[in-house]
């Protein structure tokens, strides 16, 4: 069956506001759909799929986080025997794989994006709802396939989340755990590609009248660029994985020297996906915190167009930086990749500047969401600055494959986790109709924020002392122990913060403080409809004259200026 959806238009001039979902429209047949397990399995509603993605990816975060805690426990002592070397290899491989492939990515470009993009542009659903559902199920099946590696006799994949050749060939990594890793990434790769298609098509074809490209919320803009990067990067990874599989089983020699292949080719292919992937993970979180800063500063986004062009520049430049992961191979063009990597700091710096500009002079509310976003800002700055160090080949030669690099990207991804939490605290009321507890949220924030710094800073220092990554023991360097213990304390604090998060979610669902449609007095279109929104999202739409339609509707005496609205505001005043 299909539903033919009309544009929600207010024919009566004094509209009743956004709340009443049955107002004048025949949505009855949608309200009696399946519930529970069947809804999860069959619903093509982008809101259900978005929540499924969010919950599944957060579950993956907890699994990957548990691996991390075991890794940190192992490193507390230089000669720890908590896990064997083989288990340690599996743990760091699966920690990285679960976090990058199964948590941050799907959370960023499929979880919240699925939920929010149609709402933010005034669309009834994603452009291809069944493809969207297929995308979710491919992701879930892929996740299960990857994790099932632990159940095989040889254990899970153990060659690092980057799967470098020749370590990933059949001689060095026999067993089905490695194969399961490869085929799981094929499934999740297709899932990501379908999400990318859906995002781009939805944003291009389902916007509400008046919602021009330059009036879309920054989050939606970032998702558009993310979608394009997904379309670009993921097919290359999937292609590389097919080649790797053929090398392992069909006797090809694409990455093996013995048959005339080139192991370095894998690194080129992997990082040609891998570096845009960094931005595929980061851009959605950039978009989320942009919204958070604007909402809790009670201001329009500072430098809206600058923000958009910075996002496009990041997307454009992200394709020219892949080999900065390969400086020490001695086989890449150092000046090109160094220059491009330094250049990409410019648009990122513009974003930093604009976030501070958004808060500047605003009426700042220090809610949990805002604190998380500020924590993001600081942590991302640390990760970004050390990234600029690493873009310089002489420093990279010195620190490559040490804990300095590990600390750098953990600063970045922990910043993304803070950004993700900030987004959850902002949009949870919209998704569920109830508020999260602020007090528990603030406990979570301080544990998460302090834990992140206690976790990363010792790793920078121990990296500069020369500790290589992926080492289960360090018996010859007992002086590294205290720094490693500090990092483990940080990891423990981060773990405790997640306990606060789970308790908060359970407590809030029990307590059920109703949120109302727009608890934060926010600005973008998703806050105009009810919480949670009705089937096909909108019963009516406000006029869209700026990038803040809901604000304009609620505050007619403080209309947004700019972006095609200046004349109207003048005429109105």
């Amino acid at each position: 069956m299909t539903d033919v959806i009309d544009r929600p238009v207010n024919l009566d001039s004094d509209d009743q506001g956004p709340v009443n979902p049955d107002h004048g429209h025949d949505h009855g047949h949608d309200h009696h759909g399946p519930s529970g397990l069947v809804k999860w399995m069959t619903s093509t509603d982008h809101k259900v799929i978005g929540i499924s993605y969010t919950v599944t990816s957060l579950t993956m975060m907890i699994i990957g986080g548990a691996f991390a805690e075991i890794i940190r426990a192992q490193l507390v002592s230089p000669t720890s025997t908590l896990v064997s070397f083989a288990q340690y290899n599996e743990l760091f491989t699966m920690h990285g794989s679960v976090m990058i492939y199964l948590f941050v990515g799907p959370f960023a470009f499929a979880g919240l994006a699925n939920y929010l993009v149609p709402l933010q542009i005034g669309a009834p659903d994603m452009a291809f709802p069944r493809l969207n559902l297929l995308s979710y199920w491919l992701y879930l099946c892929g996740s299960l396939v990857m994790l099932s590696g632990f159940l095989t006799s040889g254990g899970a994949a153990n060659f690092g989340w980057v799967g470098y050749a020749p370590l990933s060939n059949v001689t060095a990594s026999p067993g089905s755990g490695a194969d399961l890793w490869i085929v799981a990434l094929m499934l999740t790769g297709f899932s990501a590609i379908f999400s990318g298609v859906n995002l781009v098509a939805t944003i291009f074809y389902l916007r509400a009248p008046g919602m021009t490209l330059f009036r879309m919320p920054i989050f939606t803009w970032n998702m558009l660029i993310t979608g394009i990067l997904i379309l670009l990067a993921f097919p290359i990874l999937t292609g590389g994985l097919v080649m790797l599989y053929c090398d392992r089983h069909f006797g090809t020699h694409i990455f093996t020297v013995s048959g005339g292949g080139v192991p370095l080719l894998w690194q080129h292919i992997f990082w040609f996906w891998g570096h845009p992937e960094v931005y595929i993970l980061a851009l959605p979180m950039f978009g989320m915190v942009t919204e958070v800063f604007a909402v809790f500063s009670k201001k329009p986004i500072f430098g809206y167009r600058g923000m958009v062009f910075a996002t496009i520049s990041i997307g454009a430049l992200s394709l020219g930086v892949w080999a900065h992961h390969m400086f020490t191979t001695g086989a890449v063009l150092l000046p090109f990749f160094s220059a491009m990597s330094l250049l990409i700091a410019v648009p990122t710096g513009i974003k930093m500047f604009n976030w501070i500009g958004t808060m500047w002079g605003g009426k700042v509310t220090y809610s949990t969401s805002m604190l998380m976003a500020m924590g993001f800002l600081f942590t991302f700055l640390v990760g970004g600055i050390t990234g600029i160090y690493l873009a310089s080949p002489p420093i990279d030669f010195f620190t490559h494959d040490t804990y300095f690099v590990v600390a750098h990207f953990h600063s970045v991804v922990m910043a993304l986790v803070l950004g993700a939490m900030s987004a959850i605290f902002l949009w949870f009321p919209k998704m569920s109709g109830i508020m999260l507890n602020e007090r528990l949220g603030k406990f979570q924030f301080w544990f998460l924020f302090i834990g992140t710094q206690v976790f990363t800073f010792p790793m920078y220092l121990v990296g500069l002392k020369g500790m290589p990554r992926r080492m289960a023991v360090y018996p010859n360097n007992p002086s590294w122990q205290s720094l490693n213990q500090w990092a483990s304390v940080g990891a423990l604090l981060i773990g405790i913060s997640m306990v606060f998060f789970i308790v908060n979610a359970l407590y809030s669902f029990k307590k059920r403080v109703p949120a109302g449609d727009n608890p934060w007095d926010a600005q973008t279109l998703e806050w105009y409809t009810s919480s949670p929104p009705p089937a096909h999202n909108f019963v009516s739409l406000p006029p869209i004259h700026s990038e803040r339609p809901t604000w304009d509707y609620n505050h007619p005496d403080h209309l947004s200026l700019g972006h095609g609205n200046k004349e109207k505001a003048k005429a109105g005043s």
């Binding site: 069956m1 299909t2 539903d3 033919v4 959806i5 009309d6 544009r7 759909g33 399946p34 809804k39 399995m41 069959t42 619903s43 093509t44 669309a123 009834p124 709802p129 069944r130 559902l133 297929l134 099946c141 892929g142 396939v145 089905s176 085929v183 799981a184 499934l187 297709f190 291009f204 389902l206 509400a208 009248p209 008046g210 919602m211 021009t212 490209l213 330059f214 394009i228 379309l231 670009l232 290359i236 599989y245 089983h249 080129h268 292919i269 040609f272 496009i312 997307g315 454009a316 394709l319 020219g320 892949w322 080999a323 890449v332 063009l333 090109f336 406000p542 006029p543 869209i544 004259h545």
Partner: protein, 132 residues
Amino acid sequence: MKKESILFLFLGVFWGLMGVVYWFWSRDVTGAVMLAGSVFLGLIPGLYLYYWYRRSGYHLRAEDRPDASIEEGAGVIDAFPDNSIWPMIFAIGCMFGVLALVFGTWLAIPAIAFGLSAMIGFTAESRRGGTT
């Protein structure tokens, strides 16, 4: 559609320029080929969108005009599918398909069973529902 097409065309051209610089500076085939492929990813959708923009007589849709009112978009947006079990069945088929690559070809039997039934289900579902 104009700005959408310009966005893709810009990205394609930018990657093309970057690829040319990269190729003449590094002579690295791998990177140059991947960048060349990326150029197509920019140009093909960009030109497609521009083609439709031109075919519509350079018409700006209501969502492209800053002065459009919501009422201008009145009418049918599109037909959206209702609940469907087939995406899940298809994904399970795909899962068995890749497991067949790991554990043995016999797993291709459930893969084909799930995959085929999902394809038939998808098709029949669309026919029964009828899209307008």
